[in-house]
């Protein structure tokens, strides 16, 4: 059968880094995939070497807008590890609350986009509408919708005011019914089942071999969560469950993220109700020579920072590893063997940096454009329609 090359990207208007995938197809089946990243490389590790320790929190916040808590969190953990200090309990609680709020908004964002790519724009609109509520909560807590600027070495910049707590509680309570409705709509929908079950399976062995992290690993039955295994913040003092499933397909990844949202609500509620008093920062004088490692569980998996100091006010080296760096290479496992209409959702399933679908164009090997990005979404939508029709709905 003749082989077709399908370049995806590098531009897609939806999410994180622009990336470039090159799919090799035989008919409708993907037989090979190659990746080219670097459209987003801004040399942040080098930039961090010219900033003072307090400024770096703001630089790392701008690595990824959706993880604008995770990177500062991991970075402050790393510097605190270097200094062998711990932030005061109130600061730890505030950090945990902000981190969980971010997890919710990130998962909702992903779920919405996943719905969009399955041809279910209803889900997209619902999720993003719900997400606005969470952004409101974040705005009350931190003063900004994104890029919260809450974290500093040794504590947090901003306290949670007493009078805000009931407002936030009420907002969070109002989210639950909608979230439950969404949960039902997604989990019981036969079309979503048909589109996501058994698609893009990542086996447990592969998940370990690729050292995947976060929901991508947990969906394949690897029960690893930094919040449980290497507790930080106040996660070890709270009641919550780690959600693990075993099939490794797209459906399980959806299920995990929805489950985690409910856990996040639980965590935020407990944290707010038992927020201790006291300081929100401890005194940090200067940073001695040494090295520190901080890792935390971002919405997409473990986020890892390594900081080396030589005693000046700037680090000598600051290594940053975002979770997607480990999850992205698994495309070699999950996409190959599938059909093209499924590629969009599989590429999306690890919650990468979304899959550039709006800039997809299919070419045959001679270089003529056969399908455009629009067509690919339409193809995906057609498949959904087809399944709906087959089911008599």
């Amino acid at each position: 059968m003749p082989r077709t090359i399908l370049p995806i990207g590098p531009y897609h208007p939806l999410q994180e880094e622009p990336e470039f995938f090159i799919l090799t197809l035989e008919g409708e089946t993907v037989v090979d995939i190659d990746l080219r990243i670097g459209y987003n490389h801004r040399g942040i590790e080098k930039l961090a070497e010219r900033q003072a320790y307090d400024q770096i929190t703001f630089v790392v916040e701008r690595i990824c807008g959706i993880c604008s808590t995770s990177h500062p969190f991991a970075y402050t953990q790393a510097v605190e590890d270097l200094l062998s200090i711990e932030a005061p309990p109130r600061a730890q609680y505030i950090r945990t609350i902000v981190a969980e709020g971010e997890r919710m908004h990130s998962h909702l964002l992903w779920l919405g986009l996943a719905g969009h790519f399955l041809g279910y724009n209803t889900i997209w609109m619902w999720c993003w509408k719900l997400r606005e509520e969470i952004l409101d909560v974040m705005e009350i807590l931190s003063g900004n919708r994104n890029n919260y600027a809450m974290f500093k070495v040794g504590g947090v910049w901003r306290d949670i005011r007493e009078e805000d707590i009931p407002v936030v509680m009420k907002k969070i309570d109002s989210i639950i019914p909608t979230l439950e409705k969404l949960h039902k709509a997604v989990m019981d929908d036969p079309v979503i089942h048909a589109r996501t079950k058994g698609i893009g399976v990542l086996s447990k062995e592969a998940a370990i071999d690729y050292c995947t992290v976060g929901p991508t690993a947990r969906a394949s039955g690897v029960a690893r969560d930094i919040r449980k295994d290497c507790p930080y913040g106040v996660y070890d003092q709270l009641e919550w469950n780690m959600i693990v499933t075993h099939n490794g397909d797209v459906f399980d990844k959806v299920a995990i993220r929805i489950g985690e949202m409910f856990e996040s609500i639980k965590i935020i509620r407990t944290c707010l109700s038992q927020l201790p008093g006291g300081d929100i920062e401890c005194l940090v004088k200067n940073i001695p020579p040494g090295e520190g490692i901080g890792h935390i569980e971002a919405p997409r998996g473990e986020c890892f920072h390594y900081v080396r100091s030589d005693g000046t006010n700037r680090p000598v080296r600051h290594k940053i590893r975002a979770p997607t760096f480990m999850n992205l290479p698994t495309f070699k496992e999950t996409v190959v063997g599938g059909a093209i209409p499924d590629a969009a959702i599989v590429l999306a399933a690890i919650d990468p940096c979304y899959c550039c679908t709006e800039r997809i164009s299919v070419r045959d090997t001679k270089g003529q454009t056969v399908y455009s990005g629009e067509d690919l979404i339409k193809l995906s939508q057609k498949k959904t329609e087809q399944i709906k029709a087959d089911m008599g709905r």
């Binding site: 080098k46 050292c211 507790p231 520190g292 080296r317 480990m326």
Partner: protein, 157 residues
């Protein structure tokens, strides 16, 4: 296996390879090893202990290049960092891709940003930098200088 047992086991098993052990805290250990024992060490940590490879960080120094391989043993909440020191004259080390697939990308990254050669890596090509980036310019090295005369570093305000 708890932390002490693991450390003791490592010290016995790799007594010839370990240069020094630095216990930073209850959760962090740095072990400096001989460069030629890296694959053996990583294999043991990954396969036998069940540690997860986090990432490798290359650190450029004045006279030498350090590479730290970070592993997390989740069951006992421990991060083990293997430290390998390479002389500036011979920036070469065995690739870990034969042990786990996860090493593919990070070795490519270190190769292009710091100029370390990973012997045995199947595809040591560009990952992050653009195609027109000049060969032999490594941005994460300490002696990196702006090479592009057209770059504007002024905000214009």
């Amino acid at each position: 296996m708890n932390r002490e047992e693991l450390l003791q086991h490592l010290q016995e098993r790799f007594s010839d390879a370990i240069v020094g052990v630095y216990e930073k805290s209850a959760k962090r250990i740095y072990i400096q090893i001989q460069a030629d024992s890296l694959v053996r060490f990583a294999q043991f940590l990954f396969k036998d202990i069940g540690a997860r490879f986090n990432i490798a960080s290359g650190v450029d120094g004045r006279t030498q290049m350090e590479i730290l391989y970070h592993f997390t043993v989740e069951d006992i909440d421990l991060v083990i960092s293997l430290r390998v020191i390479l002389p500036k004259t011979q920036l070469e080390i065995a690739s870990l891709t034969s042990v786990f697939t996860a090493a593919h990308w990070i070795e490519r990254e270190i190769h292009e940003l710091l100029g370390v050669n990973f012997v045995g890596h199947p595809q040591l090509t560009r990952l992050l930098l653009p195609e027109d980036w000049p060969e032999g310019v490594y941005p994460l090295r300490k002696d990196y200088k702006e090479w592009d005369p057209n770059a504007i570093r002024d905000r214009g305000v």
